[in-house]
């Protein structure tokens, strides 16, 4: 692939063009360049001159980049509405995942621990029941990490400025930490209920634990992003 393509790709991604359009543009330009080169060779030029003529006909990096950047419809949503992509969407996904985790907890409690006052704590449960509860835990605790990493990848892939992705990472870490789940069988009805609350450190010990968990969540997403930015900065300076 010709050397103009990496520069064009960086210009487009930095300008906010959606990666899928950048990818397809690059593929189409490479094919077009090959067609033009073949045409110039058929017209009697040698390979080197044909390639130079084909490049001149294709357009300069400036022309090619400007043509794409002047189409607002081809911008990525993370550029058009960064608040929605980096903050609102992760929080919505977090809420859905936490709801799903509670559903897993509730069904597991009803099916595998029907007589227990709570599904928490050390209790004898079959291997399939254990697997079911672990699945719920994976959703509950794994989603915030996955969302943080997704924001990190999105920010790197689309060359986003740091502000919104970092704000999104912070929000996910904070809200994932302040949620706490309580499940008890009601004394009167016996049906049991699951409650999810928002509390940050009800006691000094819990506060320290919550703070550590939030810091781990935030750092697990932020550190790879900072490393990527540092490497990009070095590559640009070189």
């Amino acid at each position: 692939m010709h050397s103009l393509f990496p520069e064009l790709r960086e210009r487009l991604l930095s300008g906010g063009v959606a990666p899928r359009h950048v990818r397809r543009y690059r593929t189409e330009l490479a094919e077009h360049l090959a067609d033009l080169t073949a045409e110039e060779i058929r017209a009697g030029l040698n390979q080197k001159d044909a390639e130079a003529a084909a490049l001149a006909r294709l357009g300069t990096v400036d022309e090619l980049a400007q043509a794409m950047l002047s189409q607002p419809k081809l911008r990525a949503w993370s550029v058009r509405a960064p608040w929605a992509v980096c903050a609102l969407a992760p929080l919505a996904i977090l809420a859905i995942a936490r709801g799903l985790a509670l559903l897993v907890l509730w069904t597991g409690w009803q099916i595998f621990l029907p007589g227990a006052n709570t599904p928490f704590g050390a209790q004898h449960v079959s291997w399939i029941g254990n697997a079911w509860f672990q699945f719920g835990r994976l959703i509950y605790f794994g989603t915030p990490f996955a969302l943080g990493w997704a924001l990190c990848v999105l920010a790197a892939r689309q060359r986003l400025r740091a502000g919104w992705p970092v704000a999104g990472m912070f929000l996910v870490a904070f809200l994932a930490t302040v949620q706490s789940v309580d499940a008890n069988r009601a004394a009167i009805s016996g049906a049991g209920h699951i409650h999810i609350g928002f509390v940050f450190g009800p006691s000094p010990q819990a506060f320290a634990g919550n703070l550590a968990y939030a810091a781990i969540l935030f750092a697990s997403a932020l550190l790879p992003y900072l490393v990527w930015r540092w490497r990009e900065g070095r590559a640009a300076a070189a």
Partner: protein, 118 residues
């Protein structure tokens, strides 16, 4: 190397009309579209060839075009074709451009045949 100039005014709505018009007849990929524009306009309308793709992408994003990827002789081609929305857009643009051309022609003739243009 063949000398080919480009027309800087090409991007002011003309490529959209020409592309829709060409694709109304048959499906084409980018290189074919550029060659067809060159051939049918007698090279009067010329462009840095790569800049046709952003117009194609934008038309597709608007729902005026659809794409289909085909492998031809080991090469990956993205063929573009007109949608129903694209046909409606072509009809509207054709009407606009015909009116505009008539108005300009009228001005060039000294205003005698000028028509109102909205």
């Amino acid at each position: 190397m063949t000398a080919r100039g480009t027309n800087p005014n090409f991007l002011n709505g003309v490529p959209e009309l020409l592309i829709l018009c060409l694709l109304a007849d048959e499906t084409m990929y980018g290189y074919e579209i550029v060659q067809a524009i060159r051939a049918r306009t007698g090279s009067v309308v010329a462009v840095g060839e790569g800049v046709v793709y952003p117009v194609l992408h934008a038309l597709e994003a608007d729902g005026a075009l659809r794409t289909k990827r085909k492998s031809v002789d080991g090469r990956s081609r993205i063929y573009y074709s007109l949608t129903a929305a694209g046909k409606r857009r072509l009809a509207r643009l054709t009407n606009d451009w015909t009116s505009l051309a008539a108005a300009i022609r009228g001005v060039l003739k000294g205003g005698k045949d000028a028509q109102s243009f909205s």
